[in-house]
């Protein structure tokens, strides 16, 4: 006998849940790009609190449930700590511009390469798989620490985790696709990249991950098109660069929000940038940096083989300059450009030292 039959015809429905609603009579309308997150920011549902006391996983705008457990240990409950003004827009963009590493990369265009080129590609693929683990792990941790009241930022971070997962698998696939395989782990996840996961504050993490780390990797991904030997590698690097540019956009827009709304934290943020700049060319975190395990394969790929290493190294130096130039302009765009005028930043000095080394 089913439960419904057991209750019998005289069972009285509770229906109390019908009175427990958020604001009613909501009619969100789709815009040119469909029904986006921006389109459902209607009335009270669109109001993001400056401070959140939501510890129960209650969706923003839903009626609270009395006696509910504190299911979330949300450390981020102050809006400015994680906010950016265009989170909804970037989230929709992330959803719309997804791609498949299985079918959108023309793997059939890969042909046998000279041994030194294949080994260099595989070393770069190993390195990029390694660092993308960090880029996926760290935002995931911050998603779970952020109140659901800031769901726009949370969902954008969740989309980033999906992107990074794809980056991990596409470079692993490249290593396996042409007679090579994974090579030595570079240790990139220690040192500066590893320190990203030690951040105790979201803005500290974002400055390290989005602005410094992913900004540098974005230039590498774009440079990937220059060191690609077939259409598959071109597509792989181009599509990763698109995703990475979106992650960098998170960092720039978050820092811009902090510049405008949290003047009491400017000095602290400048300290994060000091640290990021000190590490940008040292260690093995940046393949355009000075560690041979990553800079040598990069120069070999850019030059066209070991015999043309010097030619490749010149391109690598140009790549470093471009990384630094783009980094500086992003920091300016984020509202912290004064550090390049008041003598605080040592980035130019670091670049000159690297060129002379």
């Amino acid at each position: 006998m089913s439960e419904a039959e057991k209750l019998g015809p005289d069972y009285e429905l509770d229906l109390g849940w019908m009175d427990q609603t958020g604001p009613w009579d909501t009619r969100a309308e789709e815009s040119r790009n469909g029904l986006t997150l921006a389109d459902i920011q209607v009335g009270e549902y669109g109001r993001v609190p400056d401070e959140s006391d939501n510890q129960t996983g209650r969706p923003r705008g839903a009626a609270p449930r009395s006696g509910s457990y504190r299911i979330g240990n949300y450390a981020v409950r102050t809006k400015s700590e994680i906010w950016l003004d265009n989170a909804s827009f970037l989230y929709e963009e992330a959803l719309q511009r997804q791609w498949s590493s299985a079918t959108d990369v023309p793997w059939h265009t890969i042909e046998p390469l000279p041994d030194d080129i294949e080994q260099a590609q595989c070393q770069m693929a190993t390195f990029l798989t390694e660092v993308e683990f960090v880029a996926g792990d760290v935002p995931a941790r911050w998603v779970s620490q952020t109140t659901p009241d800031f769901f726009e930022a949370r969902q954008l971070l969740t989309a980033q985790v999906m992107d990074e997962s794809r980056h991990m698998d596409v470079f692993r696939k490249r290593a396996m696709a042409n007679g090579g395989g994974l090579m030595a782990a570079t240790g990139a996840t220690s040192g500066f990249v590893g320190s990203i996961d030690l951040s105790r504050d979201f803005t500290e993490m974002s400055a390290r991950l989005h602005i410094s780390g992913e900004g540098a990797v974005l230039t590498i991904f774009r440079m990937g098109e220059l060191m690609a030997y077939n259409d598959a590698e071109k597509a792989m690097y181009r599509l990763c660069a698109q995703d990475e540019a979106r992650h960098v956009a998170y960092g720039v827009m978050h820092m811009r929000y902090m510049a405008e709304t949290a003047p009491e934290r400017h000095e602290e943020i400048n300290c994060y940038l000091d640290e990021a700049e000190a590490g940008i060319l040292s260690g093995s975190a940046n393949p355009a940096g000075q560690a041979p395990i990553v800079s040598e394969p990069l120069a070999i790929l850019l030059g066209g083989g070991i015999a043309k290493f010097d030619e490749g190294f010149k391109k690598l130096v140009a790549l470093r300059r471009r990384q630094i130039q783009e980094y500086k302009k992003r920091v300016v765009s984020a509202g912290f450009g004064a550090r390049f005028e008041n003598g605080r930043s040592r980035i130019n000095e670091i670049l000159e030292q690297a060129a002379a080394a």
Binding site: R97, W99, A228, Y229, A241, A245, V252, V332
Partner: protein
């Protein structure tokens, strides 16, 4: 046959780009930016909205102040890129937008305002921009010399 560069040429490419579903996937998709095209001294402005390139117009040097970024090459460089796309059906290894941007002393993509956040749109929407120019493989192009 439309001549490059001209509004007619960009409109022909827009017509193909806007009606091809495959350009909306595979890393393509919604794209919102205003891109300048500088061919020698001639300026054009392309407006991308959602899935479409919504408009192409001839412009002046001063209009470049307003675009997010602009792509700057001499006519012979544009011609080499477009002819390569026509031959391959898409940009060959040396002619993708990213490659052209990186493999030359002067950048392909730049801006007047110098705001890297806006210049980064060239990277964020690169596959869509590549699809747009790759669509030119389906039209015949005449070059004014």
């Amino acid at each position: 046959m439309a001549a490059f560069p001209s509004v007619e040429w960009f409109d022909d490419v827009r017509n193909i780009f806007n009606n091809e579903d495959s350009f909306r996937g595979g890393g393509g998709g919604q794209c919102n930016c205003v891109a300048g095209i500088k061919v020698g001294n001639e300026i054009f402005v392309l407006t991308f909205e959602g899935f479409e390139c919504a408009g192409a117009r001839q412009a002046s040097l001063g209009d470049l102040d307003e675009v997010d970024f602009y792509l700057d090459m001499e006519i012979l460089e544009w011609q080499a890129m477009i002819e390569n796309i026509r031959q391959n059906g898409h940009a060959g290894l040396g002619y993708t937008l990213n490659t052209l941007d990186l493999d030359r002393d002067e950048r392909l993509a730049t801006s007047v305002h110098g705001d890297q956040y806006r210049e980064d749109l060239f990277f964020r929407y690169n596959q869509t921009l590549q699809y747009f120019f790759d669509a030119s493989s389906r039209i015949a192009t005449e070059f004014a010399r």
